[in-house]
């Protein structure tokens, strides 16, 4: 089932086309990573999905409800820099949000505990750190128990501990609701997302399940790292392997040998026996990272064709 259905979404700011005919489907229960460089149109997309802005053309449907139709879709939204009423404390703020939603018995303390703010519940939000505000922002988005959570760069400005805390919460949400989150931190998207979309200059350049994306762009490359005392042997090995029919290219870089292979299965069988007697540090088949794919796609290259 589709949680988010976007058709022909276009947004112009005068002559600038911030979004240009985006079509996108996000399946229910997915954690969808929306990747793109700064200025690609990620925040504009989220503003259109929340109804804060109106599209020049196209539609956004969330759980079957068209955004801007007068009926409110069941969304929770965390802007990139959530700004609160500094004179409220966290519990008061969540109470206010719950009252807006008409919740009779809102799980305020449970939500605060989930985001790790229960101990600071009575502290005025004006005195919160950036990370605490981000967690409270997540709490206010989660409190009304939405079926779709929209997060705009939720971890970009946080320190590693803060990022981990937010990503762990997102991981825990898997299968309980649909999460659509924009980011330019590719490692985070690779870690928690199961579906990826990449936007660049207002165009959706790619959408696929994360694993399928990584498999599709996996490069047939093996890396061999050896200890320093084995470096002299590595040159001879490179020459020997380069003559094998299953190897298309070898690159020697200090204590690292890279092999681009023609047949991955054959390489898996033949490589390890060829390394016998070498003081090995690491042997690994190098898969494509999301970063490789992202950089290549946003530079207009096909990552599968990228050379080592």
């Amino acid at each position: 089932m589709t949680a988010i259905e976007i058709r022909g979404l276009t947004k112009h700011f005068g002559p600038v086309k911030a979004l240009d005919g985006i079509d996108l489907d996000v399946p229910s229960g997915a954690i969808f990573g929306f990747l793109g460089p700064n200025g690609a149109g990620k925040t504009t997309m989220l503003r259109l999905m929340t109804g804060l802005a109106r599209p020049t053309a196209g539609t956004v449907r969330i759980d079957g409800i068209e955004v801007g139709s007068g009926q409110r879709p069941p969304i929770g939204y965390l802007p990139d820099t959530p700004m609160f009423y500094g004179w409220m404390n966290a519990r008061e703020f969540l109470r206010y949000i719950a009252d807006l939603h008409g919740m009779t018995d809102p799980p305020i303390d449970a939500t605060l505990e989930r985001v790790g703010l229960l101990d600071a519940a009575k502290k005025r939000v004006g005195g919160y750190s950036r990370g605490m505000k981000q967690r409270l922002g997540l709490a206010q988005a989660l409190l009304p128990q939405p079926s779709v959570l929209l997060l705009d760069e939720p971890v970009s400005a946080l320190d590693p501990a803060g990022r981990k805390a937010i990503l762990d919460i997102l991981n825990d949400l898997r299968d309980s609701l649909t999460v659509f989150f924009s980011t330019h931190i590719l490692g985070d998207a690779e870690r928690v997302c199961d579906e990826i979309g990449i936007i660049d200059h207002g165009h959706l350049v790619m959408q696929a399940p994360r694993d399928a994306l990584l498999a599709r762009y996996a490069r047939p490359i093996f890396e061999v790292d050896v200890l320093p005392e084995a470096v002299p042997q590595l040159a001879g090995l490179a020459e020997q392997l380069g003559a094998q029919p299953w190897v298309t290219r070898t690159d020697l870089d200090g204590a690292r040998l890279r092999l681009r292979v023609r047949d991955v299965d054959e390489a898996r069988r033949e490589l390890l026996p060829a390394l016998t007697g070498l003081a090995l540090l690491r042997v690994e088949m190098v898969g494509a990272t999301l970063e490789d794919i992202f950089l290549s796609l946003t530079n207009g290259q096909d990552p599968a064709e990228k050379d080592i």
């Binding site: 503003r47 929340t50 109804g51 804060l52 802005a53 109106r54 409110r72 969304i75 929770g76 939204y77 802007p79 820099t81 959530p82 700004m83 609160f84 009423y85 004179w87 409220m88 206010y96 949000i97 009252d99 807006l100 939603h101 008409g102 922002g137 206010q140 009304p144």
Partner: protein, 252 residues
Amino acid sequence: MRVFRVQLRKELLELWRTRKVLIVVVVLVAFGLMSPLFAKLTPELLKSMGDQQNIQIIITEPTTKDATDQFVKNTTQFGLLLGVLMSFGTIVGERERGQATLIFPHPLPRETFVLAKFAALAILFGLGLLLGALADFLYTVLLFEAPPIGGFVALVAFIYLWLLCLIALSLLASALGRSMTSAGGLAFAFLLVVLVASSLTRYAPGKITDWGHTLAVGANGPAQWGALIITLALTALAVGGSAYALRKQEID
């Protein structure tokens, strides 16, 4: 209606926590107290200055009317200034600070947001003016004679409607302005236009305080029904216009 109550409670709590209640009440009560006091002391002050310089200054004995004159002057000048200052940043401020981005995706209609802000300011200034008027009335009774109760109540009610009109216009400026600076400029431009109009035509909103003054001092003067209707209509239009402007806007 439920969302309006929630939002109004939030607005009132904000006015309380940010000490705006204290500021408005203290200022309006202070002017309420000072008005009869100034009316009483000003002639005595002038007389003592004349005595020191061997000049004989003939000043008529101050009366309740002088106290009422002072009250009208003080509340319509400082009250309206306070009203504009407290109102012009209230919508644009939430947009500029980014709080609107967090709140509007929740089920809070923008019309309700505007109405709650207007209602909260109306309650705040209603309370401040009521306490200020009470202080003025009691002090006037203490120092002079009591003004005609009906006329005084009418005066306070008309000053209140005049204040509400200016608050509504400031809210409109706040909804139209793209920044605090532009909203402030627009609010004071609206104020200037209304004040100039009040000196040019008897149908301008400011004229209802003249009517109230006439009633409060027990004098004969024309009823300003036209000005009253214009004041109420302008207030409603400004609040409605604020809601419409905010609904049409995209939130950053």
